[in-house]
């Protein structure tokens, strides 16, 4: 494990970068480090990214310097890495407004896109952007597309979409630049539960045509 890069994010948060790849082992480590940090005194919150951890601390109870000294040891030995998570099977009606165009750009038929999208068991790398939005991957390379050039101002809740090596489900109506392949009736944002998200980091997801 290379030494992590630690940098400030304002005066009460810092970013720990573990690497720059989408990688299951790196991501597991990031989540384990975040979980360990959340238990430390002076830490208000910690959130893992793909290969990073953002740490929100109380400078009256701990210092940037002491955290920066302690974190590399924690990254080297983050303790038990959580279980691989629950498996969710999610039904999708593949009638998205971008399905035909995405297939065209990928040199595939819409049927091939649907089949490829439903093949892997995806990992929840992180949840963020809006409440309950899970970043899922890796997507089969044959489906990699850059984001839409002009993002939509409003993507309906439940839209199932792809971008780059990622796929995801919009939990709420929100702006978005991913390609919309279809929609699911399953609710991703669970405001009356804690945590308020169906999908949690480390969970696994498989799509099937409804």
């Amino acid at each position: 494990m290379a030494k992590p890069r630690i940098q400030p994010l304002g005066d009460a948060a810092l970013l720990v970068q573990l690497g720059s790849r989408i990688d299951t082992a790196l991501n597991s480590r990031a989540h384990a480090v975040a979980a360990a940090l959340r238990k430390r005194s002076g830490i208000r919150d910690a959130a893992a990214g793909y290969a990073s951890v953002t740490v929100y601390y109380d400078p009256e109870r701990t210092s940037y310097r002491s955290l920066a000294a302690a974190i590399p040891k924690l990254v080297a030995h983050p303790g038990r890495v959580g279980p691989s998570g629950r498996l969710h099977r999610i039904p999708v009606t593949y009638d998205g407004p971008d399905l035909a165009e995405a297939a065209d750009q990928l040199d595939l038929t819409p049927e091939q896109v649907i089949r490829l999208h439903g093949q892997p068991i995806y990992r929840v790398f992180m949840v963020g952007f809006v409440p309950g939005f899970a970043y899922l991957g890796p997507l089969p390379p044959a489906l990699h597309l850059p984001r839409r050039r002009v993002p939509r101002t409003l993507v309906p809740a439940g839209s199932v979409a792809i971008a780059g090596a990622q796929t995801g489900i919009y939990p709420l109506p929100s702006p978005g630049g991913w390609h919309l392949l279809g929609r699911t009736p399953m609710r991703m944002f669970l405001p009356d539960s804690d945590p308020p998200s169906l999908l949690r980091p480390g969970d696994r997801v498989r799509f099937f045509p409804a």
Partner: protein, 310 residues
């Protein structure tokens, strides 16, 4: 508990806010809470509440409220011309509002958001540990929405005893609000991606707060900035972080910011300077000056020390 105030006019966007919710960023939930956390804490202290009790945050214009029972209130933050029964009311001061009297606002003079505290704090819907209104998901505060005419505001608790009117935070102890502040910022994790000319623009020019700026963030318009390097994997973000999307117009993230993102983060404001940013409206200006983590923390401590006089 009996309602303490009745809303006759809600103002442009008045919401219940406290110091926000921590611990749920890993599920995409932003911190939320008051944009100006100093003004909220000060308002609470002036009426004898704990720093994090829920207040009303009023954006751009104030509400018109009638006391249903006598109560101790304070108004801090922006100056919207607060009045009690038509008479000018002192800001940053604990004031006794007798039953039947009206707190109203003559109009904005300076700043973007004012805070109204009541002794005992405002009650509301607690969501994930906070009373803060989060409009995107319609949770917290009063039904997850801004106040509307006819709403009855409940106190969260009985007022603390004894109730002391006349507590005051002197002007030198308040933040140096301005319509074109120079904000002290720490270099962000991706600052090094900025080209040399972009760094000059960043430190030497003014940016205008864009029209579509809100509780999520401010779009900063002006000369565009250029950043190089490969795509960034999404990271957890923070209030006060300045992101740089491909168009080159930076975005300053505020209380209801998206919890994660994949644009370069070029700056991070300290807490004392987020407070100054919270009082800006679209069309006003900001510039940036470099600071360090320790100096930014000292600036916040200096500001907080003023509250200890209350």
């Amino acid at each position: 508990m009996e309602p303490v105030l009745r809303v006759d006019k809600p103002g442009l966007q008045t919401t219940i806010q406290d110091l926000g919710r921590g611990g749920h960023r890993a599920y995409g939930v932003p911190p939320g809470g008051a944009m100006d956390r100093f003004a909220l804490a000060a308002a609470n202290r002036l009426v004898g509440n704990p720093d994090g009790a829920a207040c009303l945050e009023c954006a751009v214009s104030g509400p018109s409220l009638v006391a249903l029972q006598s109560c101790l209130i304070a108004v801090t933050g922006a100056d919207f011309g607060a009045t009690v029964n038509g008479e000018e009311m002192p800001l940053w001061t604990g004031v006794f509002l007798p039953a039947g009297e009206r707190l109203a606002f003559a109009g904005r003079r300076a700043g973007a958001r004012c805070y109204i505290a009541v002794a005992g704090g405002f009650g509301g819907d607690r969501w994930l540990g906070s009373l803060s209104t989060y409009q995107l998901v319609g949770r917290g505060g009063l039904g997850g929405r801004p106040l509307k005419a006819g709403d009855l505001l409940q106190p969260a608790a009985a007022p603390p005893h004894p109730q002391v009117a006349g507590r005051h935070l002197a002007e030198p102890l308040r933040p140096a609000y301005a319509s074109a502040p120079r904000l002290a910022a720490v270099r962000g994790p991706h600052f090094d991606r900025l080209s040399r000319p972009a760094r000059t623009v960043l430190w030497k020019t003014e940016f205008e707060v864009g029209k579509d700026s809100d509780r999520m963030g401010y779009r900063l318009e002006g000369q565009t900035l250029e950043a190089g390097g490969r795509d960034i994997l999404s990271i957890g973000l923070a209030m006060g972080a300045v992101q740089l999307p491909p168009g080159g117009n930076p975005i300053l993230l505020m209380a209801d910011h998206q919890s994660a993102g994949g644009y370069p983060v070029i700056l991070g404001l300290g807490r004392a300077d987020i407070v100054l940013a919270a009082q800006l409206l679209p069309g006003e200006h900001v510039s940036f000056t470099e600071t360090s983590v320790l100096r930014a923390q000292d600036a916040w401590r200096g500001l907080r020390a003023g509250l200890e006089t209350l």
